[in-house]
Amino acid sequence: MEQARSSWVIYLSLACALLFMLLPFPLEWRVLRPDIASLALFYWVLALPHRVGVTTAFFLGLGQDLIEGSPIGLSSLGLMVSVLVLQSNYQRIRQFDGVQQSLMILVLLMLSSGLEQWLRNGIEMPNLPWMGFMGLLCSAGCWLVVREILRFFRRYYEVN
């Protein structure tokens, strides 16, 4: 009972991260929008792997798909797989310094968006342009910021 006290912080932060997707970006620059929702998810998995896992990733992916208007389930699979990878390596990744962690996050993002592209091919949706990779770089660049913000909230509300 004691443990489930502050879980609303987790879900609220994920919801806010999803809302970031709604901020207006010019049509040609949408590619560079950092994927804050995935970053927030990765943070919570890294910090509290016993609380946040594949199920959360699934629902976050659903939320992304509903917001984007893409077929339901497109983003979920990639997120679930990368969360699995993260969960089995979280102890190692926690020890990394900032740059190493950002690189690791980049790899995870590439994994999830790679899976998404594969699914897109399967259902004949257009693939991301090559600029999409720049978007992943932007996301990875935002990792440290997201991490610090969420860490602040985690400590402030004593989420565990």
Binding site: L19, L22, P24, E28, R30, L66, G69, I72, M125
Partner: protein
Amino acid sequence: MLLAALCLSSLFFFRDHPHVVAVQQSAIDKVAVATGVILAPVEAWERMAAAMNSRSELQDEVLRLQQENRVLKGQSQRLAALLSENARYKALLRSAQLIDDELIAAQITAVSPDPSRHIVVIDKGLLDGVKEGQAMLGEEGLMGQVILSGDRNSRAVLITDSVHALPVQVNRSGLRAIAEGSGLIDQLLIRHLPAKSDIRVGDLLVTSGLGGRFPNGYPVARVTEVVISEGEAFALVTAEPISALDRGRHVLVLQRTVGSEAES
């Protein structure tokens, strides 16, 4: 494992299942509300700025709009005459149906975050009569079509989306073709046109009405390049959409109503 199976099955088997579509439809409205909340400060700022416009500027604008309105009215007088003349000819030819187009004014409220697609959200939905498949017009020409409607908001795909294609014809020669979206906001492609076709740079492409999705005669794009390489069977034609797809917020959705004199 179970959730992964759920993802895959929803993607590959149940993508058009009525329940899934219903969820997506209701999501459109909710997302639009959330967007509205997020954008409220921006809107408020814009309104403030508009309210600060000086009186003389507003007067100038009113004057300009009045003049424009007069010109348009003059043109539409002629249009009415032409339409009735056209209707008489059609009746003479026993053409199948007369189609009136009703317009619903809407505003683009958001652009889909998915960077591989050109999808916008407009602020009219099923309750306003906007339905899947209706054409969306900009000020100058065709912009796209509605693909999914919620109660108060809809999602529309632009003609430049890379999985969109529409039947067009060259206004000058009547040559028919399919204009595909290129994924670039200022480019349409016509791929499978015989190299000897009568098409030139500067030609206007209008909707041909084939396929029944778009009504005929609305301007779509202007040809910017015709590449005919030696030995190739097809010319590669690129065209630039006439309406500025990435600018402006006001659009019109065409509601087709088949006229009463149909099927004579």
